[in-house]
Subunit: 203 residues, 2 copies
Amino acid sequence: MSDSATKTKPTRRDLLRERLIDAAEAAIAARGLSGLKAREIAAQAGCALGAIYTAFEDLDELILRVNSRTLAQLETSLATPTEGAKKGELARLAFAYLRYARENEQRWRALFEHRLPPEKPLPHWYAQDRDRLFGLLEAPLAELLPRQESPLRRQRARTLFSAVHGVVLLGLEEKLAPTPASTLESQLSDFIDIVSRGMTRGE
Amino acid sequence: MSDSATKTKPTRRDLLRERLIDAAEAAIAARGLSGLKAREIAAQAGCALGAIYTAFEDLDELILRVNSRTLAQLETSLATPTEGAKKGELARLAFAYLRYARENEQRWRALFEHRLPPEKPLPHWYAQDRDRLFGLLEAPLAELLPRQESPLRRQRARTLFSAVHGVVLLGLEEKLAPTPASTLESQLSDFIDIVSRGMTRGE
């Protein structure tokens, strides 16, 4: 989860980083990204405000470290034995995603709400964490679409993830209509049926 | 667009409301929802800060009035002669949505980023504006799925809109991978193909 893990004894700086990530993680989980105040995080971790900026490049890095833990949590939630079910596996992933989002709404939102300034590239370690999550989604697509080339499959995994994300996001926010839990579940299930049929019959 | 339009001469309050909506609209288009400062809006509209709260219930109402104009703009962008093309019509709508989002990114975002406090119901006039937009999406579905009952069709129109929204949102933000315009367009086109096949063959 952290690229600072080494085989040697953690340094004081490593320990401070962990405490700061813990504090920021708790703040985001409780109050969302907009509830993150550097001063409170520092107080919680028992250090001076300025110490955040010696432990991390900046506040964006601290947030990405929390988001990286969220990605790992999400990955664990999605990665359950697959039992080789094909269409069933896509539905299982979509429903596991909905459940994770519901149960961890603030930290799930923070994954998408945090934006780096345009001039700042996404750190390599974060991109790797994110891409590992997508590896998980490509497996059931590989079963459904054995003849499709891997770059296309990779792109499609991202398309379908985005589509499911949109249904979950606007459904949980009830942006388009009042959306009780049962309606959202029936939308998701209908959606996975459509997509599964559309993919297997079109190849 | 505004429920204050009547056949009688507009009152001074009506004129103030229009000026304030114009100012808020320009601020959101330029700097997004987070760039909206009540003090600047009032200065722009040539009134005291407190006048905002005599002209509108609160700042949320002012934002929803701007969002209502955005919904009307979006509706105009999506509503082009359909020529009876079936699958083609879904693709046309999806691409028109992508184009609108790209060209009006800040005000498009504001539609989704603005959230009312949980205890506050969405005003009836806003829900009507939003539902009118969905009427537009139900028409091509009615052609594709003539036998489907209308409440189910209405739900599906929302599901598909949410899915397309997710693909556009995460694609424009490049949240999941570097996403050049051509990649996003090919994702959207692949997605509409899958969905069209899945819907017509499954009924």
